[in-house]
């Protein structure tokens, strides 16, 4: 079985589903002949033709709105926003129509669509290419917000996203697109949406994160283990609808929680998890919830971007602070 990267897992999932479901179409700028700027759709147009792998005009609004129209006619479009920073023009179509059509028509019109977007910083990209803005979408009812953190979860979650009857934002952490390989069987097996994955069991502190920061969270857990601290690591994976029960169960066990995300701190999705912990797990907490996040600034250009991104050291420090609080 071949070992593949996260981005190759994306391609593998798309190819599998397109081969097994004629209604799946891929569209976006550069997705055809060029195979996408990150090569996520490489080879798909040769296999499935120019209509099922469609190079669109360069207009994000068009990509988003046409995706709604395709989905409303029973197709399963997978649209690519070339970079997360370019997704803002898509938001009106996603918020006003994709996320609402099922509700506003009492289920008469539905939007089984996926929007893929290379997400986040850390690849020395130009301005507007490195945004982490998942929190803008988690506040929109009717949307699923999904972020894989490994090749296997990219494959399984993308298959699930395409098969889901509702619209899904599928944010791909591009910093770990090619970071490592793992065996991902091309068996068409989807992973469940709406559940967190507990990646590492622990008893002293819970580290909650998603996407690219899973790497730092696991590294921090390793470093803490060397000091005799047992950290549980949770990959949220589907931000909304949130599987809060898994997070609560872990915090009830450890009594401490560190939330890690790349997006700005204020009103980031970590704030939601922290608020839920305050509401529902207050008396299980032995220490205040810690957040390790990006700053309330624009992500800087690449000379400073690694200073912006949550580091393993910051996660370790936050965990120790939580442990020192009681």
């Amino acid at each position: 079985m071949a070992q593949i990267t996260l981005i190759e897992a994306v391609t593998q999932a798309l190819a599998y589903e397109m081969a097994h479901d004629d209604s799946v179409v891929v569209l976006g700028e550069d997705v055809g002949v060029n195979g996408g700027v990150f090569r996520a759709t490489q080879g798909l147009q040769e296999k499935f033709g120019e209509l099922r792998v469609l190079d669109t005009p360069l207009d994000e609004t068009t990509i988003a709105g046409v995706t709604v129209g395709l989905a409303a006619q029973g197709m399963k479009p997978v649209a690519e926003a070339q970079f997360e920073g370019f997704i803002y023009p898509m938001m009106e179509q996603i918020a006003c129509h994709a996320a609402r059509l099922r509700n506003r028509t009492r289920g008469r019109i539905t939007v089984p669509a996926v929007w893929r977007a290379p997400w986040g910083g850390g690849i020395r990209a130009p301005e507007h290419h490195s945004e982490a803005n998942e929190h803008l979408f988690t506040n929109i009812p009717g949307l699923r917000v999904v972020m894989p953190s490994s090749p296997a979860r990219a494959y399984g979650l993308l298959l699930a996203a395409i098969r889901d009857p509702d619209p899904v934002m599928f944010f791909e952490p591009k910093r770990i697109y090619r970071q490592y390989k793992e065996e991902v069987p091309d068996d068409g097996e989807a992973l469940p949406l709406d559940v967190c994955f507990v990646l590492r069991d622990g008893t002293d502190v819970t580290i909650v994160t998603w996407g690219a920061q899973v790497k730092e969270a696991l590294e921090a857990a390793d470093a803490l283990a060397e000091e005799g601290i047992s950290a549980e690591v949770i990959d949220v994976a589907t931000l909304t609808p949130l599987d809060f029960d898994t997070i609560a169960e872990s915090v009830q066990k450890t009594g401490r929680c560190v939330i890690v995300h790349e997006a700005p701190k204020t009103a980031g999705f970590g704030a939601e998890i922290a608020a839920r912990l305050a509401e529902e797990c207050m008396y299980d907490l032995l220490a205040p919830v810690e957040r390790v996040t990006g700053f309330d600034t624009h992500i800087p250009l690449f000379r400073l971007e690694m200073k912006y991104l949550p580091s393993t050291e910051r996660v370790v420090e936050a965990a120790k602070k939580a442990l020192a609080a009681s």
Binding site: D59, T62, G65, V68, P89, R102, T105
Partner: protein, 361 residues
């Protein structure tokens, strides 16, 4: 210097404001006077429906309502040219087209009366049409996406979007006609140019002499028609649908008409437009000219007019009663359609609302 491109926009009209025929080459459908009477009857019922809607709002039985007064020829002209298998993506006042396609007045009342079930059109072909789109021109891209689906599946169907003059300024409109041209999609965009986008007049909406010519830039067939002349609208629409169905690409039709009403019942157009302008527009309105033409042909008269109006009144009264007798949805309805299945986390909020509702009763 050589010329890279030249264009001209044809203006199509069959009936003038008095109902006199200005062209001899009537299209086939217009030679069928029984059919023309049916179109007139739907225009008239649309007008009766519209007046009833405004009255319902004024008496507190509807929320804000967007009137279609003056748009009857444009709307019925579009709807009557479409085939059942086609798809309509309307803006929020195209009732004439929608009634033709089976939307029931009670559904319109329900929507503006604050109930999502108004968008759940029960009758085909409206059932497979899009619901009203409030964000301006966004529905144009849904039509383009639908047309792309038809092309991928090799279906002989056409997607139609309708927008106003204001909508033609938006990027969604440009994006939709652009990809329609680039991919040769079976899509027709109808700009119902009613001269006013709330308080912004056509003259400062665009510097282009016609709105139709925007289609030229996208590579589409483009035409301007008298939007108060149903024969012209229907003819342009039939031709555009035929071209789209035959793989000859999309079209832009600008139907020039006038919004005889306020923008919505929450608007007061007297703040920004003069009485004389409205008076002049009434002289060109779509009902009178078709009625005059039908009367001259000997197939319509005052007695028939009164009889049909009475039938429309009865129909609307029945629809109003059906609307008013519709029970409010259960409180859980706000959760039931957010996702295909209510996620566990959302189910907790639903349970909370159910318990609050029980306490309130």
């Amino acid at each position: 210097m050589s010329i890279a491109a030249k264009f001209e926009i044809e203006y199509l009209q069959y009936l003038d404001a008095e109902g006199k025929q200005v062209r001899d080459d009537l299209p086939e459908f217009a030679k069928d006077l029984n059919h023309m009477v049916e179109l007139y009857k739907l225009m008239l019922s649309t007008r009766v429906f519209d007046a009833k809607s405004v009255a319902l709002q004024r008496t507190g039985k509807l929320g804000t309502y967007a009137s279609c007064l003056g748009h009857e020829a444009a709307h019925v002209g579009v709807g009557s040219a479409m085939k059942p298998e086609d798809v309509l993506a309307p803006s929020y006042r195209e009732y004439g087209a929608q009634l033709y396609r089976g939307v029931q007045p009670r559904e319109v009342y329900m929507y503006w009366g604050g109930d999502e079930r108004g968008n759940d059109y029960q009758n085909e072909p409206a059932r497979h049409d899009f619901a009203w789109s409030v964000p301006i021109a966004t529905q144009c891209l849904h039509a383009a996406g639908s047309a792309l689906a038809f092309k991928i599946r090799n279906e002989k169907r056409v997607a139609v979007c309708m927008i106003g003059d204001g909508g033609s300024s938006k990027g969604d409109f440009y994006g939709a006609i652009n990809i329609t041209g680039a991919q040769n999609l079976p899509m027709v965009a109808v700009i119902v140019n009613n001269q006013w986008a709330i308080s912004v007049p056509r003259k400062i909406q665009s510097g282009a002499p016609t709105l139709a010519q925007k289609g030229i830039a996208a590579g589409l067939f483009s035409i301007q028609v008298d939007g108060n002349d149903i024969i012209a609208v229907r003819k342009a629409m039939e031709d555009a649908l035929d071209r789209a169905r035959n793989g000859e690409g999309g079209s832009v039709i600008e139907a020039v008409t006038y919004r005889l009403s306020d923008h919505t019942t929450a608007d007061d157009a007297r703040r920004y437009r003069g009485e004389q302008e409205v008076k002049d527009a009434w002289a060109k309105e779509p009902m009178v000219r078709l009625r005059n033409w039908l009367v001259a042909k000997g197939v319509w008269d005052d007695a028939k007019e009164e009889a049909w109006k009475a039938e429309c009144d009865d129909w609307m009264d029945n629809e109003v009663n059906a609307y008013l007798e519709t029970k409010t949805q259960p409180v859980t309805a706000m959760f039931d359609y957010t996702f295909a299945e209510v996620p566990a986390d959302l189910a907790k909020q639903r349970d909370l609302v159910i318990s609050l509702d029980k306490k309130a009763h």
